[in-house]
């Protein structure tokens, strides 16, 4: 039996508990969900830990989106920050007084109604951001359709950088039909403040009093995205993505429309980046061009690689871990370690070096990530241990023959 069959036929080991197919994993999922919902009640509602947790969940949404592109469809996107930027700027444009001479209010509370500028309800902003990002994703995706994997990485990186250049130079740009009252962005000056999130029925949130509301909003977003990603993964589209990732020519030969499938991966991944960006705008209260550097794309990429490319739960774990490491462990716990060792720098200066190091170490020692997807695990170990019956990926083969 080939290794592939052996792994795929490994029993899933989830004993059925009740008569209606209630399994241990259902119970566990329910317990985790319950824990996630009551989680903020144990912490000071304004603590730095809450802020980090909310950011971590926002990054989970982005990591899930990037995972659709890179993990499922095999399209390495090094410019994911573009979607964060577009999402965040959407909230900056339509949830603040940035366009002070306009006076548009849609479904907002009475306090905000009195403010100048464009103010839309947060749910509308989410929709607008997702749509804008989906469009941007398709525009980014189109030139990459005929390209091979590593060129896609460069083109997406180039797009990310172009978006950043536009964000920085935004104050000098205006829409063609609008006057100088309507610059594209505020550049390195921040767009601030952004309206607090205001959901229907509930009273408006206030991040200065308690962050719990924000936590539950982003938890809801995470759950929605998780649901979408899990359903997509097991659907016809998800299987098409994976087939395309494994072998494009074979996938096309089996009747998978490559163009549509690729664009759909970009679209879904981009939209999720937009959702997260549109949430982070009001949460951080600031939209600034400096937030959208290339290193952010690598930060998100490191999350999904650490967690396990293509593995949904691994990606969630990777995003949470890396955000805590970045926001909490590096600046607070490890910061003075080099100083104690007699070195004259703070650990937080190593910020992105640590992520670079993680990328290298994970790829070399455990390329399948912390919680690997089963199919990916086989793909990566095949051809390396001599026990596989498939040919190694073509390339330079070091050493002598077996």
């Amino acid at each position: 039996m080939s290794r592939f069959d052996a792994v795929m036929q490994r029993p899933l080991a989830v004993p059925v508990l009740g008569p209606r197919g209630l399994t241990v994993s259902h119970v566990a999922a329910f317990a985790v969900l319950l824990f996630a919902i009551v989680f903020p009640l144990f912490f000071d509602p304004l603590s730095g830990f809450m802020t980090t947790t909310i950011q971590a969940l926002a990054f989970v949404v982005m990591a899930l989106g990037l995972n659709v592109m890179v993990g499922f469809a095999g399209l390495l996107d090094l410019g994911y920050v573009a979607f964060f930027a577009i999402g965040a700027y959407t909230s900056g444009w339509v949830m603040s007084g940035f366009y002070g001479s306009a006076n548009i209010h849609v479904f907002v509370s009475s306090t905000i109604e009195a403010l100048p500028g464009i103010h839309l309800n947060f749910l509308l902003v989410l929709v607008v951001a997702a749509v804008l990002c989906a469009i941007a994703a398709v525009i980014i995706g189109l030139p990459t359709l005929r390209l091979r994997g590593d060129y896609i990485a460069i083109v997406t990186l180039a797009f990310g950088e172009i978006i950043r250049v536009f964000a920085i130079n935004g104050p000098t740009l205006h829409l063609p039909f609008a006057g100088s009252d309507y610059p594209l962005t505020a550049g390195k000056q921040s767009i601030t403040p952004i309206d607090q999130i205001d959901l229907p029925i509930l009273s408006p949130l206030n991040s200065f009093l308690t962050l719990r509301g924000y936590y539950w909003v982003i938890l809801g977003l995470v759950l929605v995205c998780l649901f979408i990603v899990l359903r997509l993964r097991d659907s016809r589209i998800g299987r098409a993505w994976i087939a395309m990732r494994e072998d494009e020519v074979a996938a096309a030969a089996m009747g998978i429309p490559l163009v549509k499938t690729k664009l759909l991966a970009y679209l879904v991944g981009g939209a999720m980046g937009g959702l997260s960006g549109a949430f982070l705008g009001p949460f951080l209260q600031v939209v600034n061009a400096d937030q959208f550097a290339f290193s952010f794309s690598i930060f998100i990429l490191a999350m999904i690689i650490l967690g396990g490319l293509g593995s949904v739960w691994g990606v969630v774990l990777g995003a949470l871990l890396l955000t805590y490491i970045n926001n909490y462990i590096i600046p607070d716990v490890l910061d003075d370690v080099p100083g104690k060792l007699g070195l004259d720098f703070a650990f937080s200066d190593l910020g992105f070096g640590v992520f670079g190091f993680l990328l290298v170490i994970v790829m070399i020692l455990r390329p399948q990530g912390l919680l690997p997807e089963r199919r990916r695990e086989i793909e990566l170990t095949e051809g390396l241990d001599g026990g596989a019956d498939g040919p190694p990926i073509a390339g330079v083969t070091p050493g002598g023959p077996a």
């Binding site: 590593d150 460069i154 070096g353 390396l384 390339g395």
Partner: protein, 360 residues
Amino acid sequence: MATNAPPVPRRRLSQRLPTVSESFRERFGQVALIVLLLALPVGYGVTDLTGDQGDLARLGTNLFQGISNGTILALIAVGYTLVYGIIELINFAHGDVFMIGSFISVGLFGTLGLGLATGTLGVVLGLIVCLIVAMLVTGTLNVLIERVAYRPLRDAPKLAPLITAVGFSFILQNVGLLWLGGSPKSVPDLIHAQERVTTILGIAISRADIVAIAVAVPLMAGVTIFITQSRMGKAMRATAQDPEAARLMGIKVDTTISLTFMLGGMLAGAAGLLYALYQTNIWYFQGFQAGLLAFTAAVMGGIGNLKGAVAGGLIIGCIQQISDNRIGTQWTPAIVFAYLILIMVFRPRGLFGEETREAG
């Protein structure tokens, strides 16, 4: 190692005889790319001629400076193209190796006591020492990176080494950040870079231009001769065409790949020194920017193609200068990247086509 099965022949589709529509697309891509490249200089040339200036001196200066600046990019681009030619990897860390080259040269200025007060002979000798040391260090660094980050992943899916390359790029950037801090640091202007030597047809030629061209051209000629004439160069070309067959012919593939990284790294080190002399300031982020520009250059010339990389470097240098001078430095990255994307759309094989294993 399970090497008994033949490697999967890739891109068989492109090896078919081209159909009419494909050859049309090919021609169209080439023409469109050339039109694109000429758009900026011709457009500004016409405005200069019809405007109150009346001559092409400004455009000529742009282009000349672009070419002298482009030689530095060309040196870096050759490193990308060599590595891509042999193991089909975009060596993302290459730009940062170049940055380390700059940092080492500037560090050596201090060690050797080179300053504005040093005499001409001292500066020349000192710079030669700096050049040699910087090239050796960056070459070795590049070989080590290959050994640590790329060789273990040679049989892994193609994205894996690309990701470790990005990782190494970040590590090197962090090294640079710790070394000289987060803001650009000025370098003693040893060669009096902006001093005008002569003026030809209204184009001012400065000392920096002469130094850049005088160092870069012999180096590139040397590398070309090495690759086309020497035994080891032949081994490199053989490995690039078919590593498996090369190994069967008794070529040490691993050594050859290390040698390629050595060469690429050495050129990046030389480019680092030139950059420090030319721009008279250095910072940790220069490698990322120059690396992307050089990569664009390599792709423009057809990645894997040595002459293409050089031509691409010069072209990108000109685009960069024109954009810096006419449109504004803050827009230059966007313009170069827009070119990169357009090249990818119209002609991913570049101006001159590839000489990698598919084409070879």
